[in-house]
């Protein structure tokens, strides 16, 4: 499965990609919303997008809106991963079409739990 990791911080992109790898995702990276749209055009089989909110050129929220406008991308799961943690921001992101919302900082388990709930990784034995 392919996952697009969109964040203007290279470090965060690497961390998220590294968390996703053992869960079976091949991560592709983009540094803002516009670059993300280019990657989505180039890869037709993206299963997941992890999206930061505050980025130059095009914000994460604008990216969510843009993705939701394209019917070809309707099966892509959208998960915000951002430091923005106000309730009205979470509501706005979900209303725009994001499926999930992770507030930074986060641990690998946080991502695993969310993807499990979304059915993108299988629920396995506890640990």
């Amino acid at each position: 499965m392919k996952a697009l990791v969109v964040d203007d911080s290279r470090v965060i992109r690497k961390i998220v990609s590294r968390i996703l790898a053992p869960m079976g995702f091949e991560a592709i990276e983009a540094e803002n919303g516009e670059a993300a749209l280019e990657q989505l055009e180039a890869h037709g089989d993206m299963a997941l997008c992890c999206i930061d909110w505050n980025m130059p050129v095009m914000s994460g929220l604008d990216l969510v809106v843009a993705i939701r406008k394209n019917a070809e991308w309707r099966d892509i799961t959208l998960m915000m991963i951002t430091a923005e943690g106000e309730q009205d921001q979470i509501v706005r992101a979900l209303a725009a079409g994001a499926h999930e919302y992770v507030i930074k900082p986060f641990t690998p388990e946080v991502i695993f739990d969310k993807l499990q709930f979304l059915g993108l990784v299988k629920a396995k034995e506890t640990a």
Binding site: I19, P22, A93, H99, E100, D113, V121, E125, T126, A127
Partner: protein
């Protein structure tokens, strides 16, 4: 970079031997994130070199196992039991005319399990009456559960964002669960070796990831108390890696979706 296969296999082996918990492939990130603080404290370069160095030192194994099995509470933990409840168990109990539904979350820690059940009842079965009793031995976790206030990190663990928005309100640095959900759960102090808490017999009992810390005799004792507290045809929910098999033959395993649940044999409804 995650841990090597050699590290993962070794850690999975000692965790399985000492706790009966299976670390499936794919959980390498868990090994790394849980052991990294230990590696750092030991002055090791990374988790791999830490594990290599402690392999022969059996005295350190318990610490590693504990780091991997410590009961970190999350919302909808392991997910499958909650799906089984929503799709099969609760509808079946309703069909059988059970009202109110009596549910016991045993060794509830800070209450995420009990509130997860309350969210399912509120969202999917809004007209069903229910009483949820959540018990633990430790006063401080009960106080936290009663307060219904959770930090951002705790909220991140397994709580779907749509449910966060529907059932919580941000109060400064914490998120507070709705008074409606709080009113559905009663927190009580309880020792698993004492008689079951008042409010039974229970249709559903969650007893997850706690028996692994007991020896076989104590497990039997606890299970016999639980058997006395469960309603005819009621369901016992264990942790994903736990079983009554070989401990207490009075339980029958029932497969519900992706989840194994248990019913008391002689009292199982037909």
């Amino acid at each position: 970079m995650t841990v090597t296969a050699e590290t993962f296999d070794f850690v999975a082996k000692i965790v399985r031997q000492r706790s009966a918990i299976q670390l499936e492939p794919g959980k390498e990130y868990l090994v790394e994130s849980r052991l990294a603080p230990l590696a750092k404290r030991a002055g090791a370069l990374d988790v791999d070199s830490f594990v290599r160095a402690m392999r022969a030192d059996i005295s350190q194994h318990a610490m590693v196992v504990e780091a991997l099995t410590t009961n970190e509470t999350s919302w909808f933990r392991d997910l499958n039991p909650f799906v089984a409840l929503r799709d099969v168990v609760i509808p079946e109990l309703i069909d059988r005319g059970r009202s109110p539904l009596r549910i016991w979350s045993a060794a509830c820690s800070t209450g995420q399990e009990a509130y997860s059940i309350a969210m399912i009842l509120t969202e999917d079965f809004p007209f069903v009456r229910s009483n949820i009793v959540a018990t633990d031995l430790a006063d401080h976790v009960l106080a936290k559960g009663r307060s219904g206030r959770y930090t951002q990190l705790e909220i991140n663990r397994g709580l779907p964002a749509p449910m966060l928005v529907r059932h919580f309100e941000r109060q400064g640095p914490t998120f507070e669960i709705s008074s409606h959900l709080r009113s559905q759960v009663t927190f009580r102090k309880h020792n698993l070796l004492d008689a079951a808490p008042a409010g039974g017999p229970y249709d559903i009992i969650f007893l997850r990831n706690v028996l692994i810390y007991f020896d076989v005799a104590t497990k039997r004792e606890v299970l016999s108390r639980v058997r006395g507290a469960i309603a005819p045809g009621g369901y016992l929910v264990f942790g994903a890696a736990e079983t009554t098999i070989g401990v207490d033959d009075a339980w029958e395993r029932v497969q519900v979706g992706n989840c194994s649940l248990y019913q008391a044999r002689e009292r199982r409804a037909t």
